[in-house]
């Protein structure tokens, strides 16, 4: 083996390791930050699909807009990005990262959170609303549902996925910034991840997220 090939194989090890660790279970999401235009359709569609109150600042998915170092968040029907003029910015959709090593699953005292096909789900009939999962989640992706009085978060629209449909945020995105699918050899997601430099949020927490980002600025945590 040439030295160049050897170094290449060494450098690709972390990527291979991440993908290999995800093989057991399947679903994942890939978000191309360059394609997101901050229209907020995903936020509204998600709220409608999953009965999350439209006007409260809680959402299963939200968009962070970064303008000259300032962060603005869209998590209600109103789009705050439309008010910002003259500044260049970029948009980062966020949601539950469906961590393989999910802190919320570990800390829940009543086993209300669990993995199915790699997706972290909430058993709303069991959740006691202690909110430990909210404090444990490094991504701030979980909240208390005001009507159901249990914790709530993105489920990758599992009720749709199990019928062969896409999550609603993926479906409505006009630019195709979100891609969703199984992470198995030969799948579209697998091939893109294999060839691209992707990032996950807060890798230092060791949660092994299943939401991958392309073209993500280093300023985003």
């Amino acid at each position: 083996m040439k030295r160049r090939d050897f170094l290449k194989s060494i450098l690709s090890l972390p990527v291979a390791f991440t993908i290999a660790s995800l093989r057991k279970s399947s679903y994942a999401m890939l978000i191309d930050v360059e394609k997101c235009i901050g229209c907020g359709k995903c936020v509204i569609a998600c709220k409608l699909e999953n009965n999350v109150p439209m006007d409260l600042p809680i959402s299963r998915t939200w968009i962070e807009g970064y303008f000259d170092g300032r962060k603005v968040v869209m998590n209600t029907k109103e789009n705050p990005f439309l008010r910002i003029k003259g500044n260049k910015g970029f948009f980062v959709p966020k949601l539950c990262n469906h961590c393989s090593n999910a802190p919320c699953v570990n800390v829940c005292p009543v086993s209300a959170r669990f993995h199915v096909d790699g997706i972290v789900l909430v058993n709303k009939n069991v959740c006691i609303g202690c909110k430990y999962c909210i404090t444990a989640c490094p991504y701030g992706a979980t909240f208390v549902h005001p009507e159901e009085k249990v914790t709530d978060k993105c489920t990758f629209c599992y009720h749709r996925v199990k019928r062969g449909l896409k999550p609603v945020c993926v479906l409505v995105c006009p630019t195709g910034a979100r891609k969703f699918g199984e992470l198995k050899e030969g799948s579209e997601l697998y091939e893109i991840l294999k060839k691209s430099r992707f990032r996950v949020l807060k890798p230092e927490t060791g949660t092994n997220p299943r939401v991958f980002y392309l073209n993500l600025d280093a300023v985003v945590e």
Binding site: L56, W62, K71, P103, A136, G140, T205
Partner: protein, 405 residues
Amino acid sequence: MRAQELVFASILLILIALGFIAAYQMHFKPLIQIEPYESALGYPWRFLVALYVFLVLIGTGAIISAAEILGIRDLEGVAKEAILIAIITITVGLITIAVDLERIERASYALLGYANPLSVMYWMIIFYVLELLFLILEGWFYFRRSLLRQSESKGFKAFVAKVLSLKFLGGFFSKPNRELDLSFAKSIGFLALITAILAYSNLGALFSATYIPLWNDALNPIYFIITAITAGSAVLIISTITTSWLTGEFEEIKRRAVFLLGRLLLFSLLASSIFIIWRTVITGYPAVSELASYSIHNLIFGKFALNFWFLEVFVGIFAPIIALIAGRRNMDALFVAAFLSLVGIFAFRFDFVYAGQIVKKISGISMETAVHPFEIMFAIGAISLLLLLYYILYKLLPMEVEHEA
């Protein structure tokens, strides 16, 4: 019952009713929304969590501080108080945390059928339930001889003693057995002490096992135990001095216990101050992490600065240490020091819970330290319930010191 006692009990009952209304408001058809349910953006753990941590701290601390069970004879004088205070504060603490749950009716799920042994919170629930059971059992054996003695007299107190001692069952229950009772009380008391240490250090670990920089500290469990000793000795000093003042007699054995507790208080305050200094320096040290620095900056220079410097450091540590050193054999100084250190410990719990979460900002939205009036109403109700239970039980139970123990 004297007129003053009636007024005192009535006021407490009114305050308890207010607390009940507040709990009802928080859970069923609230007239005013608590907050726009923005837990992910705001503070998921709020005032009631701080209050719960404070209450169970007192209960655990009372048991650890009055470790009469370990053979410290000078603490015999406060053994009954310690058991009583521990049972009451842990019970009210558990009620408080149950009220903080969004689905209070599912509070028993962790014990019945849905346990997650990987969860630190699951173990917290288990340890506190066990601790409460052990304390009740220890108390029963510890009080049994006095209860049987009291049941020989006449009136309501005798009836209560008969019921609590289970004398009506006859046989073993109707005859005191000094050796057996003491040996059971000591064995179960030892288990209660172990579970108390496990429970409260586990509570420290519950905070540590998160991504929140101010909480993520492996020393939390040890620090929690030290502050438990502070709170426990402080509460025992306050209760013993107050009850002795009210009853008009201060037994020598109780006086000795109070002086020993004063020394324990001083030691634990000195240990606490070392922890506070190092936690502040290490968490805020530039090389640690930006988030950690941000959280500690908020604590010492930001929104929590007044709480931290005035209530935590000056009122909670500095002033009591001065009072304890200056007035070592003075009951008034001990009382003041104990009271101030309790205020400081509550401020610490409040700051710890709130300041920890301030950095968990997903949205860039500035978070305000919010304590809703209903939370304060409930807290007043909970403290009143605690006082009323202590008052009633102190009146009904045989609280005289068991000299031969």
